[in-house]
Structure formats: C-alpha cells, structure tokens
Amino acid sequence: MATTTATVTLHRPAATPATAERPPVAIGETIPFTAIPWGDALFVVFAGTMLLAALLVVTMRDIIRCGLAMIVCFIALAGIYVIVGAPLVAAAQVLVYIGAISVLILFAIMLTETKSAPSRLVFQTQAVPAAVAAVLLAFVTILAIIATDWGEVGERVHTVTEELATVLFASWVLPFEIVGVLLLAAVIGGVFLAKRERSGEESR
C-alpha cells in the first residue's frame, strides 16, 4: 500500500468522510405523543443528574458518599458526551474516571480514614465567601458565554471513531507518546511518594 505522510490507508476500500451522516434513528425523532426531541429530553435528564450529583459531592458530610455521588456525576457526564456526539470520549470517561480515578480516590479515602467519625465541621470558615465567589464566577462566565457571538457555529457533528483513531496516531502521535511518558512518571512518583518508609533505613 502506498503511504503518504499525511494520510493513512484504511482497510476499507471506501474512504469514510470525517463528518458522517447521522445514523438512522429507529425510534423516531421525538418522544412519542410529545414534540420533545429525544436529544433535548436526554440532555435535560443527564444535565440535571450531573448537576445534582455535583452539588452532593461538595456538600455531603460522609466522604464515601461524596465519592459515590462523584461516580454518578461522571456517568451522567458520559451520557452528555454521547449526546454531543463524541462516543469515544464517553467511553474513555467511563473507563478512566469511573474505573480508575474514582477507585483510586476511594482507596485513598480508605487509607486516610480516621478512627473516629467524620469530623463535625464539613465546611471551612471561608465557605460563605467561597459560595459567593462561585456564584459570581458562574454568573460572570454565563454572561460572557451568552454575550459572545460564536461565529459560524454549525450543526452538532458526530465524531467518527475511525477518523479519530487515524488522527490520533498520525498527527497527534507526539502528544500521545508524551502523555504516556507522563503517566509513567506519575505512576513512579505516586509509588515513591506513598511508599511506607522503613524506620531507620532510607533507600535513596
């Protein structure tokens, strides 16, 4: 197969365009008996779940329940990724965030849990100013978003995984490799930092 620097030949003889048509929908555009499109409905559900879960993460007393709420938040976020049209990202979200990071966090909670019950105070003294700051930030950002004219914003496109894979291992291969090295470094660093020190001996 002839290879060029810019393109990679695929096994399929026919080249698939980057922006493909939307796959045909078997269940119809809208929820039956209503005019609400499926997209909007699911968006509402997922978005709401996500925000509720996020609020629970930052306000609950029991830290393990916070972790679980975080997992729920990630699941909802994955759903939103699917609606937006990035299924691979959704899959990665589930795998990485829920499967790895959340587990990691739960392990850490286990390792640092104090013998007594969770502490009385959940929030810092500066919680109220922090809340005010958060609300203000959201307000300012939303204002900025709405006020901005985003230019030629087209239709929501669905990313084709094959195209994504092609680009990932072609033009984005350097960042890909570097991220790999970064992960390696992180793993080594994490192991080293969390290692239980032997009393009397320091291995350098």
């Binding site: 810092q124 500066q126 100013p129 922090a130 700051a133 958060a134 203000l136 930030l137 300012v140 950002t141 204002l143 900025a144 006020a147």
Partner: protein, 653 residues
C-alpha cells in the same frame, strides 16, 4: 622684604603659640622666652613697616593707591566663583594700629613675667597671649572680610580663654562665658553684614568693596553699615552689648590691660574706620553710631562714679572712652577717633597695669575701700598712675587732652552740638571718677588690715619698667601727633586714608582758629576737666606736693543720700544685668521649655504616631498570612472574578 615682614608679623606669634602649647609645660618657668621673643621680633618688624607706611617710603609711595600696599597671601578658598584670597593690606591706618597693638602687647608680655610668676598655669598664659596677638594682628592686617571675621572670632576665643584663665574660679568661668556669648550676638550681625556684602557685590575683598560701594542701593548700604556696626558693638562693648566688659575683669590684670583696654575692644573701632566709606554713603548709620557711642559714654561714666573695685572703675572708663571713639566716628571725625584710640591704648594700658601693680602690692585686694595712702609705699606705681589719670582727664599737655579735645571740637564744628554737650559732661565725670580712684587708693590713710600695710612693697622692675615705658607716650604722644593744631602729624598720616569718606560727607575744611572757635572749645574742655578734678579733690583728698586736702567721707555720704535714686542706679549698673537676666534667662527659658515640650510631643509625637500606625497596620495585615492554601486560592478566585467582570464591563461599553 617688606612683604615678608608683613607676613611674618602675625605668623610669629602664631608659631609662638603653637610651640608653647606643645612644650610649654616642660619649660614651665622658662616658658615666657619664646612668646616674648616672638612678640618682640614682631614688634620690631611692625615698627619698620609702620615707619615706612607713615613716611610714605617704598613700597607705600603710590598716591593712587592711597599710599597703601597690598601683600597677597595665599588663595584660601578657590571654589570657582567664590574665591577668598587671604591678602594683607597695609596703610597708615594699619600702621597706627600696628604700633598700638605690638607695643602694648610686648609691654604686657614683659609685665606678665612678673605678675604671673607664682601662677601654676604660667606657660598656658603665655600661649594664650600669643594666640591673642596672632588673632589681633591678623584682624588688623587682613584685606578680606572673611579673614577679618575669622580673626574676629579668634580674638573672641582668646578673650574667652584668657578671662576664664583661672578655671577654678567660678565667677571667672561665668564671666568668660558671658563675654563670649554677648560677643556672639554682635557677631551674628557682622556675619549677616558680610553675607549681605557678598550677596550684593559678589566679592569680599575690602579694597574692592570700598571701591564699588557706590553701585549699591542706599538702603542696602545702610543695612550693611548697621550690621557691621552691630559686630563692632559686640566686640567694643557698646550699649546694649556692654554688659560683658566689667565682668571680664575677672581675668588676670595683664589680660584686662591688653585685651580690654588697648587692643581687642579697639577692633570694633578699627573695623568701622576701615569700612568708613561704606558708612559715609549711609549717613543715617553714622548718626546711629554717634548716638550709641555717646550714650554708652555717659552711661558708663555714670556707673564708674560709684564702683568700689579698682578694676571695675577702669573697665567702665574704657567703655566710656570707647563711646567717645564711636561718637567721633559717627560725626565723621575719623582721624580724631583713631588718634584717641592710640592715646587711649597707651594711657589705659598704663592705668590697668598700674592697678595690677597696686593689687599685687596689697596682696590681691581689689576693693578700694580697703586701700589708701599707698603713695608713700609704691612711688613708681603712684607716679605713673598719676600721669595716666591726668592724661585721661584731658589735662594739657598730656596725650588725652589732644585727642579728646579733637573729638569734642570736631563734633561741635561738624554740626553735632548734642554730641559735644554730652561729651563735655562726660569729660567732667571722667575727671571726677579718675581722681576719686586716685584719692581712695593713694591718698589719705590706709583703711585695710595692719598686717597688709606692713608688707606692702613696690613691684619688681619687670613690672614697673613697662609702667614707665607706657607713661612716656601717655605724656608725650599728644604733643608729637597732635601739634600743630589744624595740621597735625596724625592728620597728615591719616588724611589719605579717610580722604574719600570725608569727601562723600561733604565736610568743609575750615581754617583752624586758635583764638576763635577752636580756642573756646579747648578752653571749655580744660575748664570742665579742672572742675571735675577739683570736686574730686574736695571729696576724696589730694596729696600732690603742696596741694593737700583731706578726704571727706561724710560729704560723700551726704551727697549720696541727697540723690538716692541716681546713686543706687549707678551702683547697680542701671540694672542692665538684671534686665537681661529677666529677658533672656527667665523668659527665654520659658520659651525654650515650651519648645522642648513641643519638640518632644508634637514633632517627635507625630513621627512616633506614624510609626505606631504603621506597626499597627502591619500587625493587622499580618492576619492575611494564614498559611492555608485554600485562603489564598479564594483570593485568586475573587481576583479572577473581578478581572473577568471588569473585562466584561469595559468590553460592553
């Protein structure tokens, strides 16, 4: 050659001072050799220079330069535009002063060998005397106002050191301090005057200033002259800065003779005479000078009449005669003033040294009420002091007659009758108190303790020789310098010096009428002096050859009780010391305390409050540093919101 002499004249005493200061303690009783030698050589050189200057020998023979000669010293301060040359200038006026200063200086040095023989600070005394000679000679020779000022201050310093020579005596230390401080008050005026001269003319060279004085505004010239006179007032103890001179008698008698009779107090007169062109351009200043001078004269004379300390009488007498000199300067009779300066230097020096001899004889007793009848025991001192008293009273043909009469005559003829009248009255008082002094001291019966009377002896020749040597010019100087009337030698000498000043004042040269107005004036002065002497003889006694009168203390008492206020005022020096004490010590002290309080509480207080505020603010701000990252992160978040918000607002505008 002459230039070298001129330079050496002040340098030799300076070297004498330096050497004596370093090795004097080891020389001890021989410490007088170097200082006396230095002054002796300086005297010889001064005589040569003066002779040449007064006879217009080379290099004093340029008419255009007023028969003066400038000797350039070295450039003291070369600072771009501001250049001070330490130059010397010699002319007839300088010559007259040189004669007086070096002669009396030398005689005082010799006298001190005897007078201070028993004093432990012998070498110190001579070192200070030489320092004083250096300062005075520098003052007289200098041609630059700044150098004059430096010499002025040095003279004041020497006076302080010498008045307070007996450091263990508290009254001496206080008197020295008083002298220096009162001098300082005058010096402020002098310094301001110098600054004003520099500001208006850009030069401090006396020759240049005198040449260019006409360029200035009348008001500026008046200010300059009054300020210079203020300095002269301080140094020459004119009212109201006269309070230091009587107290200065706390110093040893040679000091009183040298500094406070013959030389330092003449510095003021010399200064005004030297800068007479400046004064001539501002006639109001001259009137002020005359007024203050004659007022001082009568004030001092009135006080001298009741003093009991022999040196105080002479001190007030000096004040009075200085007043005469300033009065002469004020009416425009510059030559007469300098003439009187010279004669006064000699006979007052004589009187002081004589009184020192008297004190030495009665073993350090200075109160005249415990003296009397000394003429039998210390004849040389008595004779010379008699000569001095006659001279100061203005009896012809002694020196004082010529100079005093010249002053009074000029005052009358130049249109200042009030000066003449007051001066005449002062002459009466002068004759009176001088012969009161003679009567109390030398005539009548001795009123002190018997043991002292047995031990009185004449002073050693090292002390009496200067007395005799001073009595000669006191007797003859008038005849030499003052005759013939109207075209006297002194007038010839000093004529070119004061020529331009006299011209500016538009004084007409009148013909001298010995049997006209001038004769009448002479007659008046002599008559007045005679009356004063006669009254003094009647009250205090006299024993000259065949003239014998007993002292009448009860008449004195009666006279005193009939004029109680005047007597008390005179005895208390017209309460000037008390007035100054009230003004400056009491009131000034209150002001000073208030200012001290102000400085501590308001000035320092505000600075301290500022510091305290800063510290307090710092302490409060310290609480931002919690050490917790979350607090800092909140700060970041808030900052971010503010920035984003302001961007939005500004972009939307």
């Amino acid at each position: 050659m002459i230039d070298l002499f001129v330079l050496l004249i002040p340098i030799l005493p300076l070297a004498g001072f330096a050497i004596t200061a370093v090795i004097g303690r080891r020389l001890d009783k021989q410490a007088h050799i170097i200082p006396v030698a230095a002054v002796g050589i300086a005297w010889a050189m001064s005589m040569v220079v003066a002779f040449l200057a007064l006879t217009h020998g080379a290099p004093f023979n340029e008419e255009a330069a007023g028969f003066g000669h400038a000797v350039s010293g070295y450039t003291w301060i070369p600072a771009g535009n501001f250049e001070i040359q330490a130059n010397f200038y010699v002319d007839a006026l300088t010559a007259c002063l040189l004669i007086v200063v070096t002669t009396i200086g030398l005689l005082v040095h010799v006298y001190s060998i005897g007078y201070m023989a028993h004093d432990p600070g012998y070498w110190r005394f001579f070192a200070y005397l030489n320092l004083f000679m250096f300062s005075m000679l520098l003052l007289v020779l200098a041609d630059n106002f700044l150098v004059v000022f430096v010499a002025w201050e040095l003279v004041g310093l020497s006076s302080y050191l010498l008045i307070g020579f007996w450091t263990k005596k508290r009254s001496a230390a206080l008197a020295a301090k008083k002298a220096f401080i009162v001098n300082r008050v005058g010096d402020v005026g002098f310094a301001l005057g110098i600054m004003l001269v520099f500001a208006s003319l850009g030069t401090l060279n006396i020759r240049d200033v005198i040449e260019r004085i006409g360029e200035l505004d009348h008001g500026v010239i008046l200010a300059i002259s009054l300020l210079i006179f203020a300095g002269a007032m301080g140094k020459s103890a004119q009212f109201p800065l006269h309070v230091w001179l009587p107290d200065a008698m706390e110093g040893p008698t040679p000091v009183s003779a040298l500094i406070h009779a013959a030389t330092m107090v003449n510095a003021g007169v010399y200064l005004v005479a030297r800068t007479s062109p400046i004064f001539a351009h501002a006639q109001e200043a001259l009137v002020v000078v005359a007024g203050i001078g004659i007022f001082t004269a009568i004030l001092a004379a009135s006080i001298a009449m009741t003093q009991t300390d022999i040196k105080r009488v002479l001190a007030y007498s000096t004040l009075s005669q200085l007043g005469y000199m300033f009065a002469a300067l004020g009416v425009g009779a510059f030559t007469a003033a300098i003439f009187h300066l010279m004669t006064h230097g000699f006979f007052k020096g004589l009187l002081f040294l004589g009184s020192g001899s008297v004190i030495h004889a009665v073993h350090e007793e200075q109160d005249m009420r415990r003296m009397g009848g000394l003429s039998k025991k210390i004849p040389i001192t008595y004779a010379t002091m008699l000569v001095g008293s006659l001279a100061i009273s203005g009896i012809p043909p002694l020196a004082g007659f010529f100079s005093k009469d010249e002053i009074l005559g000029e005052a009358f003829k130049l249109g200042f009758p009030w000066v003449w009248a007051i001066g005449l009255f002062v002459a009466l008082l002068t004759a009176f108190y001088m012969f009161r002094l003679m009567g109390l001291t030398f005539w009548g019966e001795f009123r002190g303790p018997r043991e002292i009377w047995d031990r009185i002896h004449e002073s050693p020749s090292v002390m009496t020789t200067p007395l005799i040597l001073l009595a000669i010019p006191s007797a003859l100087l008038g005849l030499i310098l003052g005759l013939p009337f109207g075209a006297s030698l002194i007038a010839q000498w000093l004529g070119p010096v004061f020529h331009e000043s006299v011209e500016v004042l538009h004084h007409a040269e009148a013909e001298y009428q010995l049997f006209g107005i001038d004769g009448a004036l002479i007659g008046a002065s002599v008559a007045v002096a005679a009356i004063g002497i006669a009254v003094a003889w009647r009250l205090f006694g006299v024993e000259i050859r065949t003239i014998r009168m007993p002292p009448r203390p009860e008449r004195v008492q009666a006279l005193a009780s009939r004029t109680p206020f005047l007597y008390r005022a005179s005895l208390n020096k017209w309460w000037f010391d008390e007035l100054y004490h009230l003004l400056f010590i009491v009131i000034g002290g209150r002001v000073a305390s208030f200012l001290w309080w102000f400085d501590r509480n308001v000035v320092d207080g505000s600075v301290n409050d500022l510091a305290r505020t800063t510290i307090g603010a710092g302490r409060r701000l310290q609480r931002v540093q919690t050490g917790r990252v979350q607090n800092y992160a909140l700060g970041i978040a808030l900052g971010l919101i503010v920035m984003a918000g302001s961007f939005l607002v500004l972009a939307g505008r």
